[in-house]
């Protein structure tokens, strides 16, 4: 850009002639370049918008911020005590399934909610139905052992060769007496195939 000198109409006109277009030619060129750069932001942000869904999932997974539960804590857990739970699996002798706990035992605090699995396989060449019945040792422990979810007492039909994991979710009540330091939970599966057909 040229500097305007003294105020003089004649000079001003001359000056304008030199600078015929507004904005000046050189400015126009510059402006086009800026325009192109700025326009580029638009598709970039559109792409960014479209990629927000996978991005969120990735970032949250990487940072491990996936649950609101971090702040919601179970205040009913008695951290001062441990109870050992042994898991035992029995089959009624008329039965030819494989049945065993995935974990043989766990140590839990009274009040804590825990899930374990039992695994069953139907080794017979045809579909069979079984039903499990629980029992505790010592017997008294049954009073304090609360099952939230269990596969017992309901009919379980397995196809030939099928394997299934069956969860048990439970907690031991806080008021369990100190002297019960360990509990054995045992399940016994009965063959109820005929019965199931009848009903």
């Amino acid at each position: 850009m040229t500097e305007p000198s003294k105020k003089d109409d004649g000079e001003n006109v001359e000056h304008k002639a030199a600078n015929e277009e507004h904005p000046s030619k050189q400015n126009r060129q510059e402006n086009r370049v800026t325009l192109a750069k700025l326009l580029l932001i638009v598709p970039v942000m559109l792409l960014f918008c479209a990629s927000l869904v996978p991005l969120y999932k990735q970032i949250c997974a990487v940072l491990g911020i996936t649950s609101q539960r971090a702040l919601i804590q179970n205040t009913q857990i008695d951290l001062s005590r441990w109870v050992k739970i042994d898991f035992i699996a029995h089959l009624n002798n008329t039965f030819a399934w494989n049945f065993e706990p995935v974990q043989k035992h766990v140590d839990v605090h009274p009040g804590a909610v825990v899930t374990v699995n039992y695994r069953v396989t139907n080794t017979l060449p045809y579909a069979t139905t079984g039903r499990a019945v629980p029992s505790f040792a010592p017997m008294e422990a049954g009073l304090y052992f609360n099952k939230v979810e269990c596969f017992c007492f309901s009919n379980q039909t397995l196809q030939a060769g099928e394997t299934r994991d069956m969860p048990v979710t439970f907690y031991v009540a806080n008021k369990i007496p100190d002297e019960i330091g360990s509990i054995a939970l045992s399940y016994t599966f009965f063959n109820v195939t005929g019965e199931a057909k009848k009903s």
Binding site: M1, P4, K7, P23, T34, L38, M45, F48, L71
Partner: protein, 539 residues
């Protein structure tokens, strides 16, 4: 900042006749039909300002209809469906139709003059970005009359409501698309003008604060408008083309929309306030007769507000069940924004400190801005606290918060700007008496309207409802009375502006003795149609 003029009289005091066939004033300044083809930044600035004044009254009438319904419990004048449409369209009109175009209007008028440029960088695109707004506005109005009525999902367009709505919603989405395109074009124009067309000697750090705030705002707009466009396009395909971005029945996630929307939405609320910061930063030093305190820190504070605004969107969705780590992050990030905002508030106060202040109407509006905007910032801080927000979210407390930042913030900033620059634009003075009446009536009735809404929110009144429980009756009645006074006192403003243009006293070239930007120091009042055809030289 001291500018010296190399010419003895204002450089472009005389109106050059443009027989040399410039493409930017086909019809010349005289004929009104030039509004369709004009590429003159002053014409377009005025068109933007008139358009937004009109939209301000349309949006305001909708607000008064709602306050009429809320005057008493029970349903008296509006059906709930229409009420919901009114909350939605009121917000959209005020944001996209009133506040944003008004800021753009000022940008068009002032930026070329303040940096010593002849016009905007892309005059023809400038004309387009104005005219695009008209079909968008028509779409929004017309949507009230199609089956199913206008969008009733709230301005945030949350699914599933926005997926279920009728034709009105499609029209709204289209309108927002058009307005978004218009804003992007406007922003590109502003950035290019500011970066490439400054007069020799006008370095970036010498630009008036208004130019700075607009530079930053324009970048914000280019960055987030495409995100909004993306979000509403996904809504549209969910509605019509069987996609399931946000449709839970197809495996989509409605909260995803909220994340995307607020990634746009929070920067958007700063788009609505930063140019007002700029206007206030010009006016307060003028009437305090002291230079702006901490100019550089103002620039940096504005830039940091803009950058932080990208990482706080989660504070609008604390209740969606986000992970605790997310809540904490968004809470602290939100509180952090109060720091640069505080820097600005303190700088304005420090500018006034020991100044010889006079209280003309523009200054009154700026002081009102300072007090009330700060209150709104405080209620924002209250809302940023997660456990508090969980009880206050979607209550009238939030309504009070954003009206405190938007009415005395954005709107008063604009009003102050109009009173301040009207003598420059028109060459005539407005009536101080009327202006002061306008200010005091607005200030008092604004607080009557919105202060009680804090109480209502704290007591648990939800927002966006046409009817409410009886215990909220008294404060609602007071709020409605305030709203009507507030609404009707804005007519004083129109009267003042119109009578100023028609018959105001002649204004001086430098109407305000403390003003120091180029339009005051280098140009006469009214400013001629073409200014700074040759760039001024600044030292």
């Amino acid at each position: 900042m001291a500018y010296t003029n190399s010419t003895t009289a204002p450089a472009s005091a005389h109106d050059h006749s443009h027989a040399d066939g410039h493409d930017h004033d086909d019809h010349g300044p005289g004929s009104w039909t030039r509004i369709f083809t004009t590429t003159n930044h002053k014409d377009i600035g005025s068109m933007y300002l008139w358009f937004s004044l009109f939209m301000f009254f349309v949006g305001g009438s909708m607000a008064l209809l709602m306050r009429l319904e809320l005057f008493q419990p029970g349903l008296q004048v509006l059906q709930p469906e229409l009420y919901n449409s009114l909350t939605t369209v009121h917000a959209l009109i005020m944001i996209f139709g009133a506040v944003m175009p008004a800021f753009t209007g000022f940008a068009n008028w002032l930026i070329p003059m303040q940096i010593g440029a002849a016009d905007m960088a892309f005059p023809r695109m400038n004309n387009w970005s104005f005219w695009l707004m008209i079909p968008a506005a028509i779409l929004l109005f017309a949507s009230f009359f199609v089956p199913g009525g206008a969008a009733a999902s709230g301005w945030t367009l949350y699914p599933p409501l926005s997926i279920q709505g009728g034709l009105g919603l499609d029209m709204t989405i289209l309108a927002i698309h058009i307005l978004g395109a218009s804003s992007i074009m406007g922003s590109i124009n502003i950035i290019t003008t500011l970066l490439n067309m400054r007069a020799p000697g006008m370095t970036l750090m010498k630009m008036p604060m208004f130019c700075w705030t607009w530079l930053i705002t324009a970048y914000l707009m280019i960055a987030v408008m495409p995100v909004l466009a993306g979000a509403i396009t996904m809504l549209l395909t969910d509605r019509h083309f069987g996609t399931s971005f946000f449709n839970a029945a197809g495996g989509g996630d409605p909260t995803m929309f909220m994340h995307i929307f607020w990634f746009f939405g929070h920067p958007e609320v700063y788009i609505l306030i930063l140019p007002a910061f700029g206007i206030v930063s010009q006016i307060i030093p003028t009437f305090a007769r002291k230079p702006l305190f901490g100019y550089a820190s103002m620039v940096y504070a504005t830039a940091s507000i803009a950058m932080l605004s990208f990482i706080v969107w989660g504070h609008h969705m604390f209740t969606v069940g986000m992970p605790a780590a997310g809540q904490l992050f968004f809470m602290y990030a939100t509180m952090l924004i109060a720091v640069p905002t505080g820097v600005k508030i303190f700088n304005w106060i420090a500018t006034m400190w020991r100044g010889s202040i006079s209280f003309e109407t523009p200054m009154l509006f700026c002081i009102g801005f300072l007090c009330m905007f700060t209150l709104g910032g405080f209620s924002g801080l209250v809302l940023s606290i997660v456990p508090v927000d969980i009880t206050l979210h979607n209550t009238y407390y939030v309504v009070a918060h954003f009206h405190y930042v938007l009415f005395p913030g954005a709107i008063w900033g604009l009003m102050a700007g109009v009173y301040f620059w009207l003598p420059k634009f028109t060459g005539r003075m407005y009536s101080e008496t009327l202006g002061k009446w306008h200010f005091w009536l607005s200030a008092i009735s604004f607080n009557i309207t919105f202060f009680p809404q804090h109480f209502l929110g704290l007591a648990g009144m939800p927002r966006r409802i046409p009817d409410y429980a009886l215990q909220f009756a008294e404060w609602n009645m007071i709020s409605s009375i305030g709203a009507f006074i507030l609404g009707f006192s804005q007519l004083l403003f129109v009267w003042n502006v119109v009578s100023c243009i028609r018959s105001g006293e002649k204004a001086k070239a430098k109407q305000w003795e403390g003003a120091d930007s180029l339009e005051w120091t280098h140009l006469p009042s009214p400013v001629p149609y073409h200014t700074f055809e040759t760039a001024p030289v600044l030292k």
